[in-house]
């Protein structure tokens, strides 16, 4: 992965996920951060910190981003969600417009 094609998503605990921009931009919220002309700090550094999203949830969200891209390209599989994560995941999804 070229660095300029990626973005670093950082969880509440400081864990870093490096994902493709295309994938991250499945989230409307992240898309807005990365593309808004106002010069968000996120745009410049290619990093977004989510102080309210735990590592477990952020990992799940990154998996969803890639699942979403696969779905769009025709590979339509089931996306598994662990029951104990559902509520927290949902709050994060709501925040991320995903």
């Amino acid at each position: 992965m070229k660095k300029e094609d990626t973005v670093k998503l950082i969880s509440a605990e400081g864990f870093e996920f490096v994902v493709h921009k295309d994938a991250a931009m499945v989230s409307q919220t992240i898309r807005n951060m990365l593309t808004s002309p106002g010069g968000f700090a996120e745009t410049e550094h290619g990093e977004v910190t989510f102080p309210e999203i735990s590592t477990t949830i952020l990992e799940k969200i990154c998996k969803y981003f890639y699942w979403n891209l696969q779905f769009a390209s025709g590979k339509q599989t089931e996306f598994h969600i662990e029951p104990e994560l559902t509520l927290e995941l949902m709050m994060a999804a709501n925040y991320l417009h995903t």
Binding site: P83, L87, M90, Y95
Partner: protein
């Protein structure tokens, strides 16, 4: 985590306002009538589109629905999330009194439980716990009783309440909502127990904008309690048959009223005089009231009036000259009155803004139509069951904005139809008349914008179906005159926009017909009754996944045959005959 508090509140409007979905006007069977209305939980727009990628939010909501029994409370969630969960549960029919308990104290804003099964007083405590957050509540069709309404006292910010078809609610229950001063919309349709006494509970609902008491037969004398509700804009008391002239008096000062529906009441001309000052009134429905043309004196003072329904009243030609004063009217319904061409003379000069005119079953003929030639904005003209014939149609050929004409049961013949051939805006045409044949259809091929064509009783044969190829946009088609065979259906099979197809009464149609139309995947309603269709032809319908209604009466098909097909291939089929 915040999240945008997006709040989607589709304002559900009257079920009888204007047609939506499939046009209900063009089918004899009535089969499509309910298709347009009966499945909607329109307030909730959840889409389970198979092709589109579900959002993570959707996936989570569905996961919760599957595991709903594992959750005891959602009160820690932001309310827009719990709102989405409950919407999904209601939509999918998975909400029970037990799972509803998890929504206690969720600060929900909207609860659309209308027509939801088994809702009763035991649900009211959880509803009440939403407290001042709750803005709209639909409990129509529920078994909630008078004592259930006590719980609403805490929901002080309620703006909209719907209790249509709640048989257990009476005057006593109304008392409990009398303090909900933020109410703007209130509906108690089809309630036989509400009387004038109970309506005193409405007297202090000063914010009320819309009140709906349709089919509440006992409310005579109760409108006096509305006198102070000066914000009221819409009042529906259709089919409240006890309503009489003295009930109109309290309305005289409600000058914000824009819409009044008092159809099928005992109101006479003298009651209408109280409306003179309602200068904002734009819609007035007096269908079936005991009024005559004398009421036009009072109504002509209403400058804002756009929609006037006087069908099934006691109008005669006498006094109809006053129609010339209604220059602003857009929609006028005069159907089923004892009026003749002499009345139409008075529409000639004044009603130049008219867009819709209904003369169904009036005693008008060819000569009368000359008076319509100046109505250049006319879009919709209803002439069913009149004495209009071919000679009259020439007066319509200049009305180029016409989108809909009903000529069913008139004496119009093939030779007259070419007068319509230049009406290029036409979308729907009803020619349900026995004397219409293939020749008439041939004259109409220029009307390529047609979406609805009713040839129910017309004598159309296979060769006439060749002309149907011109109507590529047809969404509904009825040809039931008996003259079609499978060969004619070949010309129908490519009308890919069709959602409603009625080919019943053509007794020579065979299974081949079903094979031919097997690619019309947009079909929602299909009727091929009284034909030679057999059970072995049903397999051709497998691809018609949108089919909701299938009618094959008097064919060699049993209810069981259709039920099997429904189970294996047609999940959306909800109504079929034989049943």
């Amino acid at each position: 985590m915040g999240g945008a508090c997006s709040r989607k509140r589709n304002h559900r409007d009257d079920e009888d306002n204007f047609p939506r979905g499939i046009s209900r006007r063009y089918s004899k069977s009535g089969s499509s009538k309910w298709l347009a209305t009966s499945f909607s939980r329109p307030a909730i727009d959840i889409q389970h589109d198979k092709g589109q990628c579900p959002s993570l939010m959707d996936l989570c909501v569905r996961k919760i629905r599957e595991d709903i029994n594992k959750y005891s409370t959602f009160s820690m969630l932001p309310r827009d999330i719990s709102q989405q969960i409950i919407n999904e549960l209601v939509y999918s029919g998975c909400l029970t009194d037990v799972s509803f308990e998890a929504f206690r104290d969720c600060a929900l804003q909207d609860l659309y439980l209308g027509e939801y099964p088994n809702v009763n007083d035991t649900w009211m405590d959880v509803i009440s716990s939403q407290g001042s957050s709750l803005l709209s509540l639909d409990l129509s069709g529920s078994d909630v009783t008078d004592s259930g309404l006590i719980y609403l006292k805490d929901c002080t910010n309620l703006q909209a309440l719907n209790f249509n078809d709640c048989d257990e609610i009476s005057d006593q229950g109304l008392e409990h909502i009398s303090g909900l001063s933020n109410l703007t919309n209130l509906s108690f349709r089809r309630n036989g127990a509400i009387t004038s006494h109970g309506m005193s509970a409405f007297a202090n609902l000063f914010g009320l904008i819309k009140l709906d008491l349709e089919r509440c037969p006992g409310i005579h004398g109760g409108l006096v309690h509305l006198q102070g509700l000066t914000k009221l804009e819409s009042l529906n008391i259709k089919w409240c048959n006890s309503i009489a002239d003295d009930d109109m008096k309290p309305l005289s000062g409600l000058t914000n009223l824009k819409s009044i529906q008092i159809a099928c009441s005992k109101v006479t001309d003298s009651g209408i005089t109280y409306m003179k000052g309602l200068h904002n009134l734009s819609l007035l429905n007096l269908e079936g009231c005991l009024v005559t043309a004398a009421c036009l004196d009072s109504l002509s003072a209403l400058d804002a009036l756009l929609y006037l329904n006087l069908s099934r009243c006691h109008l005669t030609d006498e006094g109809c000259e006053k129609f010339s004063r209604f220059g602003n009217l857009k929609v006028l319904n005069l159907g089923f009155n004892d009026i003749t061409d002499a009345c139409l003379v008075h529409l000639r000069g004044g009603l130049t803004n008219l867009e819709s005119l209904n003369l169904d079953s009036c005693r008008i003929g060819d000569d009368g139509l000359v008076n319509l030639t100046g109505l250049k904005h006319l879009k919709c003209l209803e002439l069913s069951d009149t004495e209009v014939g071919s000679n009259g149609l020439r007066h319509l050929s200049g009305l180029v904005k016409l989108e809909s004409i009903n000529l069913s049961f008139t004496v119009v013949t093939d030779s007259g139809l070419r007068k319509l051939s230049g009406l290029s805006s036409l979308k729907s045409l009803n020619l349900d008349a026995r004397q219409i044949t293939d020749t008439g259809l041939a004259a109409l091929t220029s009307l390529t914008g047609l979406t609805h064509l009713d040839l129910f009783g017309a004598r159309i044969t296979d060769s006439g179906t060749n002309y149907l190829r011109s109507f590529k946009n047809l969404r509904s088609l009825e040809i039931c005159g008996g003259g079609l065979t499978d060969a004619g259906v070949k010309n129908i099979k490519d009308l890919s926009s069709l959602t409603l197809l009625n080919l019943s009464q053509n007794c020579n149609l065979t299974d081949k017909t079903l094979e031919l139309i097997s690619g019309l995947t947009g079909l929602v309603s299909l009727n091929v009754s009284n034909s030679r269709i057999t059970h072995s032809g049903l397999r051709h319908l497998k691809l018609l996944k949108n089919l909701k209604s299938l009618t094959l009466e008097a064919c060699k098909v049993t209810a069981n045959d259709i039920r099997k097909l429904q189970l294996t291939d047609l999940p959306n089929l909800v109504s079929f005959r034989p049943e």
